[in-house]
Each structure stands twice: as C-alpha cells, then as structure tokens.
C-alpha cells in the first residue's frame, strides 16, 4: 500500500534528519577544532610564561625550591591536567610535581603527542637559543577533550531532542495538509450506491477542483444513463404486460373456438406463458437492483417465510408428485420482505422445476455459529461443478436452449437470487445435495450483517 502521508512524512523527516545532523556534526567539528586551537594557544602561553618566569629566577635555583613553588602555584585540578619541564643540555632543571623524570615531550619545537603516566598528552616544546633552554609543556588530552566536548555538546543535544518533535510536527502538518483529500475520499465512500448528487466544489483546494469537477461530470452522465435504463426496462416491461394480458384473454377466448389439443395452440399458450414469466422476472430484477433498492429492512422470520412460499407453491409440487419437507426452526434475519420472498420462491420453484416426478425436495432453515442458513436440496439430476459459476449469469440456461426439462424458465431466476443475496450482504454456495443426485443451494446470512 502506498500512502502519500507516509511517503511525505518519512522522506521529509529523513532529509531534515540528514541535513540537520550533518550540519550539527560539521559545527561540532569546527567548534572542537577551535577549542583545540584555544587550548594549544594556552599551552604556548604557559610555555612563554614559564620561560619569562624562569629567566627572572637565578639559574642556580635548586629543584627542591621549585617543587615548593609548584605546590603553591598549581591547583589540584590543573596539577593533573597540566605538566611542564625545563631542560638544559639534556639535564632537567625544573619540573612540575606531576611530571615524570623523563622528558615529557620531544626535543623538537612545536606540538606533539606523547603517552606518559598512563595518559595521552598534548605537548609543546619551545627552544630558547639564547639560554639553550627547552621548555616543555603538556596537557592531558582526555581531560581537555572532555572539557571542550561538554561545551560543544550543549549545542548539539537540542538538535537531537528536537527531532522526534519535528517528526511529530511534520506528521501533523502533512495529515492536516492532506485532509481535503481525505474528506473527499470519505465523502465519496459514504455515498450511497443510488446517490449520484454532485459534490460540493466549495472549500476544495485548487488541486482537487479538477477531480471534483470530473467526478461530478461523471455522476451527471451516470445518473442520466441510469435513469434512461431504468425507465426503458420498466417502461418496456410495463408496456409489454398489457398486450400480453390481452393476448392471454384472446387465447382464452380462442380455446372455446378450437380444439384444445391442437399442437400449435398448446405451443402458443406455453410461449405466451413464458413471455409473461420473462417480463415478470425482468420487473423483479429491476425492483431488486441495488440502485433501485430503497425500502427499509425489517426483521423477517425465514422459517415462516419458507412455510408461506411452500404453501403457495404446493400445487406445483403436488402436480409432479414431489415430496417436500421443511426442517429447522424459527430464525430471524434483517432483510427486505419482498426480495427475500422472491429469493425463496425462485429457489423453491427451481427445485420443483428440475426435480423429476416423485422426487424429493428438502428445505432447512438453521443457525450455525451465529450465521443464519437457508438451504434447499433436491433429488434432480444435479449440475456439473464446472457450470456453477455461469449459473448466475443472466439468461444462462444449462445446455443452452436445448433444455432437457420442458419447463418454463428464462434463465433469470438465479441472477435475481444472486442480486438479492448481494443486497443482504449474504453469500450463496452451490454443492451436491444429500440425496443420491441433485443440487444443494445454501444461502448464508452472516452474523455481522444481522446486527
């Protein structure tokens, strides 16, 4: 999943982190270098001071006296931190109390590093040609480094501490900045399937105006075409109903005039019946389509609904000498009465149609782990598994037009069933029936959608 918010937040924060830290490190480096320079200058100053103070003193002063001078002069801390020696002709003349007896620096003018007394020191050697004296001064690196770093660190720590807050700030700003987009998405997501009213263009940022305009345009066209389609199919079906009724009446009148055994007459009647059925189904399909669906859901008992439908369809079962049984108990779901009735009726009449004489049909309504299940099984010839998917297509009939059973059907029954199932967010499964042969249809109304 790509998220603009994540992308922007991470990329911006990463870039800022790199830049800020590199700048901080650069500053750190420069400050440390300046501090180093400062300390070095101090080392030189101390050497100069020593040179002057030594030149003032008589050269024959003994070391013991100087040691006393040391103790007075040097404080506790700098005693550890600073050391010096004065050499003449490879002989030590004067030394700080903490310095070893060996030379603390190289006899080579300038700055050096040297390890002694378990520490690493920065040393400075100064040679006085006139007096032939070497003045060596040294400072402990670790201490002077910590001193410098503590100061410099003060400037860096805020940058580090600031960063999480910066991250939070960037996240908030981007979230806020992207809110028009999110609002638009929300508005579109919340729209009901049949709500094709235009989105408001007010308060939209410039970047989204084109999107909103295009979407509104699309809605407009969609609405128009829906309207056309709706009007056409319902008008057509309605308009066809009247002539069909007229034909039926004429057919009835005709039956008195000619022999009812006439082959053409029987064919004509069945064709007219089929046409009437088709028109009824087309109207049903229209009434139950998601776009059309407006009615409120109510609590419906599937079991008693099945009872009602069986009662109304019973004469067809009796004609074919079919045994129909209903098992289970009262289970209520939330749904639309009209469409659910249509669903049950379609499934039951399908079972009746495709089960040969003296067959069996078993209907169950039961509750399984909270899901309410309506299941119908027949002892017909069944349907090959590979045909299951196509069964729900509109106008699809098994084996095409050469349907083996001489029954009225237009191939819309299961398409309507599927539509109603989707309307109720239920699921439909096909399978083998528990009889020797035959089809099992199971409609599962899931728990979440019942509540």
């Amino acid at each position: 999943m790509k998220s603009i918010r994540f992308f922007l937040s991470i990329v911006i924060l990463s870039t800022i982190t790199i830049m800020a830290f590199l700048a901080a490190l650069n500053g750190y480096n420069d400050s440390m270098a300046s501090a180093e320079e400062l300390f070095d200058t101090e080392l030189v100053d101390k050497a100069n001071l020593l040179a002057i103070s030594y030149s003032v003193r008589p050269p024959e002063t003994r070391i013991s006296d100087i040691a006393k001078f040391d103790q007075i002069k040097e404080s506790q801390q700098s005693e550890q931190y600073f050391a010096f020696q004065i050499w003449k002709n490879e002989k030590i003349l004067l030394t700080s109390i903490n310095a070893p007896q060996d030379a603390i620096a190289h006899f080579e003018s300038g700055f050096h590093y040297k390890n002694f007394l378990n520490h690493r020191w920065r040393t400075y050697s100064q040679y006085n040609k006139k007096t032939n004296i070497w003045i060596l001064t040294a400072e402990r690196i670790d201490i002077r480094y910590v001193l410098a770093e503590n100061i410099v660190l003060e400037t860096i720590i805020p940058v580090v501490i600031m960063l999480p807050f910066l991250g939070l700030l960037i996240w908030t700003i981007i979230t806020y900045g992207l809110s028009p987009l999110r609002n638009l998405a929300q508005e579109l997501g919340d729209k009901r399937a049949d709500d094709l009213t235009a989105l408001s263009i007010e308060n939209q940022p410039v970047e989204l105006i084109q999107v909103v305009n295009s979407t509104n345009d699309l809605f407009e066209r969609l609405k128009a075409s829906f309207l056309r389609e709706k009007r056409f199919s319902s008008d057509a079906a309605h308009e066809l109903r009247t002539p069909i009724s007229a034909i039926k009446i004429h057919l009835h009148n005709l039956s008195h005039l000619i022999s009812e055994d006439e082959q053409s007459f029987i064919q004509l009647r069945s064709s007219v019946d089929r046409m009437g059925h088709l028109i009824e189904q087309i109207l049903n399909l229209n009434r139950t389509s998601t776009e059309q669906y407006m009615s409120r859901f109510s609590t419906i008992d599937l079991y008693s609904l099945a009872q009602e439908v069986i009662a109304s369809e019973y004469k067809h079962f009796a004609q074919k000498n079919l045994q129909i049984s209903l098992e289970g108990d009262s289970n209520t779901i939330n749904g639309d009465k009209f469409s659910l009735e249509l669903l049950v009726q379609n499934l039951i009449s399908n079972a009746c149609k495709y089960t040969p004489e003296s067959g069996e049909v078993l209907i169950k309504v039961y509750c399984n782990v909270g899901d309410i299940i309506f299941q119908i099984e027949d002892s017909g010839s069944g349907i090959p598994v590979d045909k299951y998917e196509r069964l729900f297509d509109r106008f699809y009939r098994l084996d095409g037009d050469c349907h083996t059973s001489n029954t009225i059907g237009c191939g819309l029954g299961l398409a309507i069933v599927k539509q109603i199932v989707e309307l109720h967010h239920a699921e439909i499964f096909l399978g083998q029936s528990s009889f020797k042969t035959g089809l099992m249809v199971r409609v599962v109304f899931s728990k979440e959608d019942l509540s």
Binding site: V11, S14, I18, N29, E149, V152, I156, V160, L163
Partner: protein
Amino acid sequence: MLLSSVIIVLREVLEAALLISILIALSKKTSLSAHWLIWSCLLGLSGAIVYGMNINNVSDWFDGVGQEVTNAFIQLLIYCMLVLYILILSRFLVHKNTFHFLTRLIMIIIVALAITREGTEIVLYFFSVTHSKTHLTAVVGMTIGASIGVSVGFLFYYLLNSLKLEQSIFIGLILLLLVSAGMVSQASLLLIQADWLPAQLPLWNSSAFISEKSVTGQLLYVLLGYESTPTALQVSLYVLAIIVPIGLMQVLNKVYPKKINLASL
C-alpha cells in the same frame, strides 16, 4: 568521542540499511509483502546481542582468531544467500513470478545475518562506552549515527521504489551484485587477518585518490567493499564473486530460455 561514536554506528547501520532497503524495494516490486522484515530484524537483533555477549568465547576460538573466522563465515553465508536471491530475481525478470516462500526465507536469512554482523559491533561499543564516564556523548553520537543511517536507507528505498519495475529490478540486481562482492572481499580480508588465507603485498595503493577514511571512501566501502590497498587475492576473489552469479544466471538462461535474455539487458 561524539564523532567516533557517530562513525561507528553510522557505518554499521548504513551497511545494513542499504541492504535492507534494496531488499524491501525489490520485494515490493516483486509484489511480496514486507512482513518478513519484522522477523528478520528481531532475529538479527537477538543474534547481535547473543554474539556480543559471547564475544570473548568466540574470540578464543581457533587460537584467538575466532572473531575473524566467524565474521568471515557470516559474510560468506550472506554472499551465498545473495547469490541465490539474485538468481531468483533474474528469473523474475524472465517469467515474472517468484518462489514466494523461498524468496522470503532467503531475505529473512540475509537481513538477520547482516543485522547480527553489523549489530554486534554496536552492542559491544554500547557496553564499552556505558562503562566510561562520557557515555552521554556516546549515546548522542550513536543516536545521530543511527538516525542518519536509517534516513539514508529510507531515501534510498524510495529512490529505488520510484523507478519503473524492470529498471528498479535491474539496478537492484547490480547493487546486490556489488554488495555481495563487497561481502566476499571483506570476508577474504578477515581471513587474511586471521592468517587463514595467505598474506601478500598490496597490489596497489589508491588511498591518495580515495582514502578509506573519507566520506566517499566509507560510502564506497559500504556499497562496493572498497579497499585502498587490496592484495591480489582479494581482487581475484572480488572479481570471482561477481562472475559466479553472472555465470549462473547465464546457465539458467541457457537451460530455461525465455524471451528476455538478462545478459543482453
């Protein structure tokens, strides 16, 4: 202190972050979810801590060169896994499907090993420094180093991700080839240091052009395993490490030819 802690952590994090970002970008491109990363990170971190805790025992192995041998072994293992991954990826370019389970397993192993290898040094550094007085500095430095490393990884990932499918896989392949060859070069160096491979005079000295200490040198070290004074053995192994996967790719393409020939890309 600050700078050195930044460098230590940055170098290790950068190495792992680049490898991980390449792998995640590629797994996104080959439509694999990136959930494997959590597992490999956890595995890698625990690996690093266990290795760091037992470093003194490991060091004593093989007459005091256990560390080098273990690290070299890890590097070579990563190399082998990377070669496998490269081969799978090259097949993806040909017929657009991956062996999901295998690919994920390989990526988990690669990243876990890489984090173990790179994380150990950070763990050791952390323990060493918290003993001393100046640990605040070190912690700040480690934070800075880790943040920079991770940020570079993120940017690199988005860069690779913004490329077109075939482009990004091709570039990813080349980067992985170079990184894997770098692994072999590092492993050979460790084995030379342990005296398991013969030591030689360096073949050349390019430190005057690109010093290993410089930022460029460090970046090249992370990406290509750059050394300023490599020996003949190292160079040969490096070249070999690049040739082997390419050769295997060609064999695969010969044995299972398909319309796109990788070598001609």
